[in-house]
């Protein structure tokens, strides 16, 4: 009854082929990442040092370090998150916990989905019109951050909604049966048990915001600006700043005779910043999951 038959051999063969095929495809996916990082590191090694990170670009950006663009990127990311995280999370809480299924919520959800699909260059033009010109912010860190915030908002709403949906409906029903209001239910049960998912969703948006060039190049990022080295408060958010992504673009395409390692070093710092933030979010998720309560 359990002996091999031609059909069972055939099935086993197909199974093996499929498994190997899938494994190869998956490995191919990892390969580019390893190649990119490996190649960048190899090329950037001559210039990488702490000094590279903490000095301003010099000599029309043909030499020196990354301090001004690095700090600028941090400013842009932090300010945009300060705006988009609370708005996005609160909007998601409303849509998921309060809103009834009607035309308003349908339109809002549609808007969120479509906003997520808008190309970043279009966000940039919107930012120029809305924040730089109409709101009168001028080209500034604030205007650029707000543009980035608009861009990350829909994704934060989507990831927060996912996290809220992961809290079982039965918890909410139990609370309502006990005479708790919606808000009491949200504050005591829903938010404490979805905060890990919400936070990781928010943090992952940092990487997107940090890497974007288009939305900031017309709204606040500047070709060159010299700031106090090592001073974390060197920028004023009503003024323009440099940014890693734009800096990489300019020294790679606009400036002749740049020391060869510098663009690669810039790329490595940009990638490392993003990866560090992602790693932090993964660590946070793992830590909070060990405290999962059901």
């Amino acid at each position: 009854m359990f002996t091999e038959t031609p059909i069972s051999r055939q099935k086993q063969r197909t199974e093996n082929i499929v498994r190997i095929l899938l494994l190869v495809v998956t490995s191919l996916m990892i390969l580019p990442l390893l190649l990119i990082i490996g190649y960048l590191l190899y090329k950037a090694l001559p210039v990488l040092s702490l000094e590279f990170l903490f000095t301003n670009p010099k000599d029309n950006m043909r030499a020196g370090g990354l301090w001004a663009p690095f700090l600028g990127t941090i400013y842009l990311v932090v300010v945009s998150l300060l705006v988009s995280a609370p708005i996005g999370v609160l909007a998601a809480v409303y849509l998921n916990e309060y809103a009834r299924e009607n035309w308003f919520t349908r339109i809002t959800n549609l808007a969120v989905v479509n906003l997520a699909g808008v190309p970043s260059i279009v966000h940039a033009l919107f930012g120029v019109g809305a924040f730089v010109l109409f709101a009168g912010l001028g080209e500034s860190i604030l205007a650029a951050s707000l543009t980035l915030a608009i861009m990350t908002l829909p994704v934060i709403i989507a990831s927060t909604t996912e996290a809220l949906k992961a809290v079982p409906m039965s918890f909410r029903e139990a609370c309502w049966n006990l005479g708790a209001t919606r808000w009491q239910t949200i504050r005591r049960i829903v938010l404490p048990n979805s905060i890990s998912g919400i936070l990781t969703g928010v943090i992952l948006q940092v990487s997107r915001a940090a890497g974007e060039t288009a939305p900031i190049m017309f709204t606040g990022a500047v070709f060159y600006k010299s700031i106090a080295e090592g001073d974390l408060f060197a920028y004023n958010i009503t003024e323009q700043c440099m940014a890693l992504s734009l800096h990489l673009f300019t020294i790679s395409t606009q400036v002749p005779d740049v020391t060869e390692g510098i663009p690669y070093g810039t790329a490595i710092v940009l990638v490392a910043t993003v990866l560090l933030v992602n790693a932090a979010s993964i660590a946070l998720r793992v830590y909070l999951r060990t405290r999962k309560k059901w």
Binding site: E173, C175, W176, N177, G179, W294
Partner: protein
């Protein structure tokens, strides 16, 4: 076991349900049912799936409002007051203890599970909360098993313990009415018996609506039993009559005796 078949005429009803019709969208769930529930009785509600038992309970404590697209006609009165006109719906829900089919330990400690409702109602004093927690866990026959670990998570208890925790939680706001919706569905027979003993004692203090798929459970516990079918109330009478050889309806006889359909 039933001795209270005629209490109808003696006491004023606690719950008066009058011509209650509920629809989910266009789908009818309850078709104009009417009956009264009397103080300190256990009213068994039996009937196959889709007969509207759970919907009925949700109308009484107005949690049906959380389901979109429902329409409710007719009235449900609690002590003579229409539940749809009460000003404080949260207070209304606290007058009714609700136990759902699957045990739900909230992701809080055992202590916080039971203290949840009193806290949302504004009780802050530690001594008062301690007292409520101990009394309710005692009533739910869970105290002896958990008294040394009140700070562990309620979700880590076994299914049967969680269901007793759910009952303790439902008792924590001192309800006048306790609704149990197929509470024994996820509980082993021994635990079921322990909870049934608990219910027999609670009858002295409150009115109990017992929705159950275990027909024998209604027979063991209920003073009166209602038989529902496809959103209609087929018949409601003393448990003795429902389980006799000649209940008011042939459908009741068939359902109770297991030769339904």
């Amino acid at each position: 076991m039933n001795t209270n078949g005629n209490r109808n005429s003696q006491t004023a009803p606690v719950i008066e349900i009058n011509d209650l019709t509920v629809r989910y969208g266009d789908t009818p769930a309850l078709n104009g049912i009417s009956f009264d529930v009397y103080k300190n009785e256990i009213l068994g509600i039996i009937g196959p799936a889709q007969s509207g038992k759970t919907t009925l309970l949700k109308v009484i404590n107005r949690t049906l409002e959380f389901t979109a697209g429902t329409t409710v006609e007719g009235s449900v009165k609690l002590d003579g007051v229409d539940v749809n006109t009460v000003g404080d719906v949260y207070g209304l829900r606290r007058r009714i203890g609700m136990v759902l089919p699957l045990p739900v330990g909230l992701p809080l400690s055992i202590y916080d599970n039971v203290a949840f409702a009193p806290r949302t109602a504004g009780v802050r004093a530690k001594s008062e909360l301690d007292e409520i927690v101990e009394r309710c866990l005692q009533q739910a026959a869970l105290w002896d098993e958990v008294k040394d670990r009140l700070n562990t998570l309620g979700t880590k208890l076994s299914g049967g313990q969680q269901q007793r925790l759910t009952i303790a939680r439902a008792l924590s706001h001192q309800p006048e009415i306790l609704c149990l919706d197929e509470f024994s569905i996820a509980v082993d027979p021994i635990t079921t018996m322990r909870i049934e003993d608990v219910l027999k004692e609670l009858r002295a203090e409150m009115t109990i609506l017992l929705v159950t798929n275990l027909i024998q459970q209604a027979k063991r516990l209920a003073n009166r039993t209602a038989f529902m079918l496809n959103g209609d109330l087929v018949e409601i009478d003393t448990t003795d009559v429902i389980f006799s050889d000649s209940p008011g309806s042939q459908a009741t006889y068939d359902y109770v005796n297991g030769n339904f359909g």
